[in-house]
Symmetry: C2
Subunit: 228 residues, 2 copies
Amino acid sequence: MRKFAIIGLGKLGTTVAKFLAERGAEVIAVDKNADLVDELKEIVDLAVKLDATDEEALRSQGIDKVDVAIVSMGENFEAAVMATALLKGKLGVPLVITRASPTESGIREKILKLVGADRIVLPEVEMGQKLAQSLLLTHIVDYVPISEKYSAAEIEAPRSFWGKNIGDLNIRRRYKVSILEIKRSYLGKNGKKTEKINYLPQADDLVEEGDLLLVLGELEDIERLSEG
Amino acid sequence: MRKFAIIGLGKLGTTVAKFLAERGAEVIAVDKNADLVDELKEIVDLAVKLDATDEEALRSQGIDKVDVAIVSMGENFEAAVMATALLKGKLGVPLVITRASPTESGIREKILKLVGADRIVLPEVEMGQKLAQSLLLTHIVDYVPISEKYSAAEIEAPRSFWGKNIGDLNIRRRYKVSILEIKRSYLGKNGKKTEKINYLPQADDLVEEGDLLLVLGELEDIERLSEG
Ligand SMILES: Nc1ncnc2c1ncn2[C@@H]1O[C@H](COP(=O)(O)OP(=O)(O)OP(=O)(O)O)[C@@H](O)[C@H]1O
Ligand SMILES: Nc1ncnc2c1ncn2[C@@H]1O[C@H](COP(=O)(O)OP(=O)(O)OP(=O)(O)O)[C@@H](O)[C@H]1O
């Protein structure tokens, strides 16, 4: 498994460090704030207080031997630039992923790329755009962009589908969309709501009122299908 | 189209307000910081400086008439709780989505749900988990979770596929994975790298060295396929 270094233990850095360590990956976590370092001491292989803009400090902790480094210091742009440049330029880390804060012109992303960042992440922007896009699609419960062309989405089964079987509806030919799952809620004996999921439904499976359909296709086709 | 109110114009709030307004939605943007409000005056229908914990101020700007409100004040938890409670409890906004900051026990999310938030978003956590998961999958270039069971992923075409056509590889039967796209890079006449995408490839389409495959299936099956 690859070895990881997480530089900056804010909300993003801490989430990534914990997720990787819990699945057995070797993780070195670094921050200048001792309290944040202490929180992770029990969870990761090595958690150490140091200044990430100090090349010798990074090298002394074996950061030059990791496969991937994640730099997450959104509010401290100068430190993010310096750490990225050192990790890529001086320590030779093969993959450096740096978190940036959005600016009108994107100048921060350009500078980070210039000093060697292999990938830039902008959590609030990526999340904000996905949230806003899903809110614009009125009949769609949740939406996941997959590529330029394809999306997955959870939609309420349109009224015209209720009581009909998948074969008769001929969805792939009429709408150019595939159904991956049908999710149906039941009221159990104890009055608790339970959910049953029918994966890759067959031609004779029925669609009922209240069903949620997980579908795959182009967004326009999914919108058309969701309006039934 | 639905009417939206965006409360708090940090990175997330600003991204959502701009995305919705650029696509024609009616947006009211609110913040106590005049500079942030001024930035959006040209872009949204109404941008106004006010304290979001003041019920009369919210009502005076017609926030009780919107369909969706997004509360994005991650660092100011008390204001987020108060604004959420007012929007849902007093102003009757049908859908309130509130941004939270992660805590060890998840107590902030629980309180926000208690005072009426319909949905909670945690950008750094959701982004951090997705980033960490994609880093653990070594042969996978990018990964998109779709549901509990299904994921989409971009993988490098395994060596055993080079020079073979899709029909002969029998991928759906052997690996239980579908191929949505084959992405191939060319070096154009001017020496620039261009990309060509083959959507929903047919049985006689060839896979070549260097191709990227966009696939859909269960993560374990995708990992097995990517190791060829
Ligand atoms: N020079 C430095 N060396 C090491 N750690 C640093 C340095 N400068 C800042 N940090 C640490 O980086 C962490 C993240 O800082 P910041 O708040 O800028 O990030 P963020 O990416 O916005 O966080 P979040 O993921 O919480 O949104 C802080 O814990 C801070 O102590
Ligand atoms: N009572 C309030 N009324 C209106 N606006 C407020 C109030 N309290 C805070 N804000 C505004 O909310 C905005 C977001 O604040 P904060 O930095 O807490 O959010 P955030 O969600 O972490 O931001 P980001 O999306 O940038 O990560 C700020 O611009 C701040 O001025």
